[in-house]
Protein backbone atom coordinates (compact mmCIF):
# COMPACT_ATOMS: atom_id res chain seq x y z
CA UNK A 1 0.00 0.00 0.00
CA UNK A 2 1.54 3.31 -1.05
CA UNK A 3 1.27 6.42 1.08
CA UNK A 4 -0.23 9.60 -0.31
CA UNK A 5 2.39 12.31 -0.94
CA UNK A 6 1.83 16.02 -1.31
CA UNK A 7 2.91 17.85 -4.45
CA UNK A 8 6.34 19.06 -3.29
CA UNK A 9 6.74 16.84 -0.25
CA UNK A 10 7.00 19.71 2.24
CA UNK A 11 9.58 21.74 0.36
CA UNK A 12 10.61 24.87 2.24
CA UNK A 13 12.52 28.10 1.64
CA UNK A 14 13.57 31.00 3.83
CA UNK A 15 14.18 34.45 2.45
CA UNK A 16 12.53 37.63 3.63
CA UNK A 17 9.64 35.34 4.60
CA UNK A 18 9.30 31.65 5.35
CA UNK A 19 7.71 29.60 2.59
CA UNK A 20 6.65 26.01 3.06
CA UNK A 21 4.56 23.49 1.26
CA UNK A 22 2.36 22.30 4.09
CA UNK A 23 1.86 18.70 3.11
CA UNK A 24 -1.44 16.90 2.78
CA UNK A 25 -4.64 18.82 3.43
CA UNK A 26 -8.09 17.36 2.91
CA UNK A 27 -10.23 19.54 0.64
CA UNK A 28 -13.80 18.94 -0.42
CA UNK A 29 -15.68 21.08 -2.90
CA UNK A 30 -19.33 21.59 -2.02
CA UNK A 31 -21.57 23.22 -4.62
CA UNK A 32 -25.21 23.96 -4.11
CA UNK A 33 -27.58 26.63 -2.87
CA UNK A 34 -25.62 28.13 0.04
CA UNK A 35 -28.82 29.54 1.53
CA UNK A 36 -30.36 26.06 1.80
CA UNK A 37 -30.59 24.82 5.39
CA UNK A 38 -29.58 21.32 4.32
CA UNK A 39 -26.44 22.54 2.52
CA UNK A 40 -25.50 24.73 5.49
CA UNK A 41 -25.98 21.79 7.83
CA UNK A 42 -23.80 19.51 5.69
CA UNK A 43 -21.03 22.11 5.47
CA UNK A 44 -20.97 23.21 9.09
CA UNK A 45 -21.24 19.66 10.43
CA UNK A 46 -18.31 18.56 8.24
CA UNK A 47 -16.05 21.44 9.20
CA UNK A 48 -17.20 22.18 12.73
CA UNK A 49 -17.28 25.91 12.03
CA UNK A 50 -19.94 28.48 11.17
CA UNK A 51 -20.96 29.11 7.58
CA UNK A 52 -18.68 31.76 6.02
CA UNK A 53 -20.31 34.87 4.60
CA UNK A 54 -19.35 36.22 1.18
CA UNK A 55 -15.56 36.47 0.89
CA UNK A 56 -14.85 34.87 4.25
CA UNK A 57 -12.85 31.89 5.46
CA UNK A 58 -13.72 30.25 8.76
CA UNK A 59 -10.71 28.22 9.83
CA UNK A 60 -10.26 26.13 12.94
CA UNK A 61 -7.00 24.16 12.88
CA UNK A 62 -7.09 21.68 10.02
CA UNK A 63 -10.83 22.19 9.62
CA UNK A 64 -12.54 25.09 7.95
CA UNK A 65 -14.96 26.49 5.41
CA UNK A 66 -13.89 28.86 2.65
CA UNK A 67 -16.36 30.85 0.57
CA UNK A 68 -15.42 30.24 -3.07
CA UNK A 69 -18.32 31.66 -5.07
CA UNK A 70 -22.05 32.33 -4.59
CA UNK A 71 -22.73 28.61 -4.94
CA UNK A 72 -19.53 26.98 -3.72
CA UNK A 73 -17.66 26.46 -0.47
CA UNK A 74 -14.42 24.60 0.14
CA UNK A 75 -14.53 22.27 3.13
CA UNK A 76 -11.17 21.71 4.83
CA UNK A 77 -10.50 18.65 6.97
CA UNK A 78 -7.57 16.35 7.77
CA UNK A 79 -6.51 14.36 4.71
CA UNK A 80 -7.22 11.02 6.35
CA UNK A 81 -10.81 12.00 7.19
CA UNK A 82 -11.90 13.02 3.68
CA UNK A 83 -13.71 9.82 2.71
CA UNK A 84 -15.53 9.67 6.03
CA UNK A 85 -16.48 13.35 5.84
CA UNK A 86 -17.80 13.00 2.29
CA UNK A 87 -19.92 10.01 3.29
CA UNK A 88 -21.40 12.00 6.17
CA UNK A 89 -22.06 15.01 3.95
CA UNK A 90 -23.73 12.92 1.26
CA UNK A 91 -26.00 11.42 3.88
CA UNK A 92 -27.11 14.89 5.01
CA UNK A 93 -27.47 16.05 1.40
CA UNK A 94 -29.58 13.10 0.23
CA UNK A 95 -32.29 14.43 -2.10
CA UNK A 96 -30.74 17.91 -2.24
CA UNK A 97 -29.40 19.33 -5.54
CA UNK A 98 -25.76 19.58 -4.52
CA UNK A 99 -22.31 18.31 -5.43
CA UNK A 100 -19.60 16.99 -3.12
CA UNK A 101 -16.17 16.17 -4.58
CA UNK A 102 -12.84 15.24 -3.05
CA UNK A 103 -10.27 17.63 -4.54
CA UNK A 104 -7.52 17.09 -1.94
CA UNK A 105 -5.04 15.49 -4.32
CA UNK A 106 -5.72 18.00 -7.10
CA UNK A 107 -4.33 20.85 -5.02
CA UNK A 108 -1.17 22.03 -3.35
CA UNK A 109 -1.06 24.16 -0.21
CA UNK A 110 1.61 26.65 0.84
CA UNK A 111 2.22 28.73 3.92
CA UNK A 112 3.97 32.10 3.68
CA UNK A 113 4.83 33.54 7.07
CA UNK A 114 6.83 36.33 8.59
CA UNK A 115 6.51 40.08 9.03
CA UNK A 116 6.97 40.62 5.28
CA UNK A 117 4.50 37.95 4.15
CA UNK A 118 2.10 40.61 2.83
CA UNK A 119 4.85 42.01 0.66
CA UNK A 120 5.80 38.64 -0.78
CA UNK A 121 2.24 38.02 -1.89
CA UNK A 122 1.58 41.59 -3.03
CA UNK A 123 4.25 41.23 -5.68
CA UNK A 124 2.36 38.33 -7.23
CA UNK A 125 -1.37 39.01 -6.88
CA UNK A 126 -3.52 41.94 -8.11
CA UNK A 127 -5.01 42.32 -4.64
CA UNK A 128 -4.86 45.14 -2.10
CA UNK A 129 -3.06 43.42 0.80
CA UNK A 130 -2.69 46.46 3.04
CA UNK A 131 -3.37 45.48 6.68
CA UNK A 132 -6.61 47.50 6.75
CA UNK A 133 -7.83 46.04 3.43
CA UNK A 134 -7.07 42.33 3.82
CA UNK A 135 -7.42 40.79 7.26
CA UNK A 136 -7.43 37.34 8.82
CA UNK A 137 -10.83 35.77 8.20
CA UNK A 138 -11.05 37.00 4.62
CA UNK A 139 -10.79 34.70 1.60
CA UNK A 140 -9.58 35.72 -1.85
CA UNK A 141 -9.56 33.78 -5.09
CA UNK A 142 -7.26 35.43 -7.57
CA UNK A 143 -4.14 34.73 -9.60
CA UNK A 144 -0.49 34.48 -8.63
CA UNK A 145 1.47 35.69 -11.66
CA UNK A 146 0.03 33.41 -14.37
CA UNK A 147 -1.97 30.83 -12.45
CA UNK A 148 -5.18 30.74 -10.41
CA UNK A 149 -4.81 30.54 -6.65
CA UNK A 150 -6.72 31.28 -3.49
CA UNK A 151 -5.50 32.43 -0.12
CA UNK A 152 -6.53 33.47 3.36
CA UNK A 153 -4.65 34.62 6.42
CA UNK A 154 -4.13 32.40 9.44
CA UNK A 155 -3.01 35.39 11.48
CA UNK A 156 -1.78 38.86 10.69
CA UNK A 157 1.55 37.63 9.31
CA UNK A 158 0.73 34.21 7.86
CA UNK A 159 -0.91 33.37 4.56
CA UNK A 160 -2.21 30.00 3.52
CA UNK A 161 -2.25 29.56 -0.28
CA UNK A 162 -4.08 26.93 -2.28
CA UNK A 163 -3.29 26.29 -5.95
CA UNK A 164 -3.61 23.47 -8.45
CA UNK A 165 -1.19 20.62 -7.91
CA UNK A 166 -0.03 20.76 -11.53
CA UNK A 167 1.41 24.25 -10.95
CA UNK A 168 2.79 23.63 -7.46
CA UNK A 169 6.43 23.88 -8.55
CA UNK A 170 5.68 27.07 -10.49
CA UNK A 171 4.01 28.67 -7.47
CA UNK A 172 6.81 27.59 -5.15
CA UNK A 173 9.40 29.09 -7.54
CA UNK A 174 7.36 32.30 -7.77
CA UNK A 175 7.21 32.60 -4.01
CA UNK A 176 10.95 31.94 -3.73
CA UNK A 177 11.74 34.76 -6.17
CA UNK A 178 9.28 37.06 -4.48
CA UNK A 179 10.85 36.31 -1.09
CA UNK A 180 14.50 36.37 -2.09
CA UNK A 181 16.97 38.09 0.23
CA UNK A 182 17.27 41.82 -0.26
CA UNK A 183 13.93 42.17 -2.06
CA UNK A 184 12.13 44.05 0.72
CA UNK A 185 10.07 46.98 -0.55
CA UNK A 186 8.85 48.27 2.80
CA UNK A 187 5.47 49.34 1.47
CA UNK A 188 3.33 48.10 4.40
Amino acid sequence: MSDPVSALNRAAFTGIAQIAETGLQGMITLRGDLASAVVIKAATAAAGTDMPARGEAKIKGEHGLCWMSPDEVLVLCPHAEVAMTIAAMEQVLAGEHALVVNVSDARAVFRVSGPLAREVLSKLAPVDLAPQAFRPGMMRRTKLAQVPAAFWMEDDRTFRIVCFRSVAQYVFDLLKVSAQEGSEVGVF
Binding site: M68, P70, T142, P148
Partner: protein, 109 residues
Protein backbone atom coordinates in the same frame (compact mmCIF):
# COMPACT_ATOMS: atom_id res chain seq x y z
CA UNK B 1 -5.83 49.58 -15.87
CA UNK B 2 -9.48 48.68 -15.66
CA UNK B 3 -10.80 47.67 -12.24
CA UNK B 4 -14.36 46.34 -11.98
CA UNK B 5 -16.24 45.37 -8.85
CA UNK B 6 -17.64 41.88 -9.29
CA UNK B 7 -21.29 42.06 -8.14
CA UNK B 8 -21.25 38.33 -7.31
CA UNK B 9 -18.33 38.24 -4.85
CA UNK B 10 -17.92 41.95 -4.13
CA UNK B 11 -14.21 41.94 -4.97
CA UNK B 12 -12.52 44.84 -6.74
CA UNK B 13 -11.13 42.79 -9.60
CA UNK B 14 -8.23 43.89 -11.71
CA UNK B 15 -8.60 43.47 -15.48
CA UNK B 16 -6.08 40.61 -15.45
CA UNK B 17 -8.43 38.66 -13.20
CA UNK B 18 -11.33 39.00 -15.64
CA UNK B 19 -12.25 37.57 -19.02
CA UNK B 20 -13.97 39.88 -21.47
CA UNK B 21 -17.26 38.58 -22.87
CA UNK B 22 -18.04 41.17 -25.53
CA UNK B 23 -21.07 43.36 -26.02
CA UNK B 24 -23.94 43.10 -23.54
CA UNK B 25 -27.69 42.76 -24.03
CA UNK B 26 -27.59 41.07 -27.45
CA UNK B 27 -30.98 39.88 -28.62
CA UNK B 28 -30.70 36.39 -29.99
CA UNK B 29 -32.09 35.56 -33.43
CA UNK B 30 -32.06 31.82 -33.99
CA UNK B 31 -33.78 29.36 -36.31
CA UNK B 32 -36.75 30.85 -38.16
CA UNK B 33 -35.46 34.42 -38.06
CA UNK B 34 -34.66 36.39 -41.20
CA UNK B 35 -31.18 36.19 -42.68
CA UNK B 36 -30.58 39.87 -41.96
CA UNK B 37 -31.51 39.53 -38.29
CA UNK B 38 -29.40 36.41 -37.92
CA UNK B 39 -26.39 38.01 -39.59
CA UNK B 40 -26.76 41.08 -37.42
CA UNK B 41 -26.99 38.96 -34.26
CA UNK B 42 -23.89 37.00 -35.23
CA UNK B 43 -21.61 39.70 -36.54
CA UNK B 44 -22.77 43.28 -36.00
CA UNK B 45 -21.38 44.91 -32.88
CA UNK B 46 -21.34 48.53 -31.86
CA UNK B 47 -17.93 50.07 -31.23
CA UNK B 48 -18.77 53.30 -29.45
CA UNK B 49 -16.45 56.00 -28.24
CA UNK B 50 -18.10 56.70 -24.91
CA UNK B 51 -20.77 54.82 -22.99
CA UNK B 52 -20.62 51.07 -23.55
CA UNK B 53 -22.18 47.97 -21.98
CA UNK B 54 -20.17 44.78 -21.78
CA UNK B 55 -20.20 41.29 -20.37
CA UNK B 56 -17.32 40.18 -18.18
CA UNK B 57 -16.49 37.02 -16.30
CA UNK B 58 -14.60 36.92 -13.01
CA UNK B 59 -12.49 34.10 -14.42
CA UNK B 60 -9.78 33.96 -11.74
CA UNK B 61 -12.20 34.65 -8.90
CA UNK B 62 -15.72 33.40 -8.33
CA UNK B 63 -16.10 32.40 -12.00
CA UNK B 64 -19.41 34.23 -12.46
CA UNK B 65 -20.56 36.40 -15.35
CA UNK B 66 -21.70 39.97 -14.82
CA UNK B 67 -22.42 43.17 -16.75
CA UNK B 68 -20.41 46.37 -16.71
CA UNK B 69 -21.27 49.88 -17.91
CA UNK B 70 -18.23 51.98 -18.68
CA UNK B 71 -16.83 54.67 -20.93
CA UNK B 72 -14.48 53.39 -23.62
CA UNK B 73 -12.81 56.78 -24.02
CA UNK B 74 -11.94 57.51 -20.38
CA UNK B 75 -12.20 54.03 -18.81
CA UNK B 76 -14.60 55.52 -16.26
CA UNK B 77 -16.74 52.74 -14.81
CA UNK B 78 -20.37 53.67 -14.21
CA UNK B 79 -21.23 50.43 -12.48
CA UNK B 80 -21.49 46.67 -12.64
CA UNK B 81 -24.66 44.64 -12.33
CA UNK B 82 -26.13 41.17 -12.48
CA UNK B 83 -25.83 39.05 -15.61
CA UNK B 84 -29.43 37.90 -15.22
CA UNK B 85 -31.05 40.95 -16.84
CA UNK B 86 -31.89 41.83 -20.44
CA UNK B 87 -31.39 45.57 -20.10
CA UNK B 88 -29.41 47.95 -17.86
CA UNK B 89 -31.13 48.58 -14.50
CA UNK B 90 -32.52 52.06 -13.88
CA UNK B 91 -29.96 52.74 -11.16
CA UNK B 92 -27.10 52.27 -13.64
CA UNK B 93 -28.86 54.39 -16.28
CA UNK B 94 -29.28 57.19 -13.75
CA UNK B 95 -25.58 57.07 -12.89
CA UNK B 96 -24.66 57.34 -16.56
CA UNK B 97 -27.15 60.19 -17.12
CA UNK B 98 -25.54 62.09 -14.25
CA UNK B 99 -22.11 61.80 -15.86
CA UNK B 100 -22.99 61.78 -19.59
CA UNK B 101 -26.28 63.66 -20.11
CA UNK B 102 -28.03 62.68 -23.33
CA UNK B 103 -26.13 59.41 -23.77
CA UNK B 104 -27.47 56.76 -26.13
CA UNK B 105 -26.44 53.14 -26.64
CA UNK B 106 -28.40 51.01 -29.10
CA UNK B 107 -32.04 51.34 -28.01
CA UNK B 108 -31.16 52.50 -24.48
CA UNK B 109 -30.62 56.04 -23.31
Amino acid sequence: MLILQCPCCGVMADETELAAGGEAHLKRFGPGSSDDDFESYLFNRVNPKGVHFERWRHAYGCGKWFHAARCTATLEVFGTYSAQVTEPPQEIRDKISARRPGWRWREFG
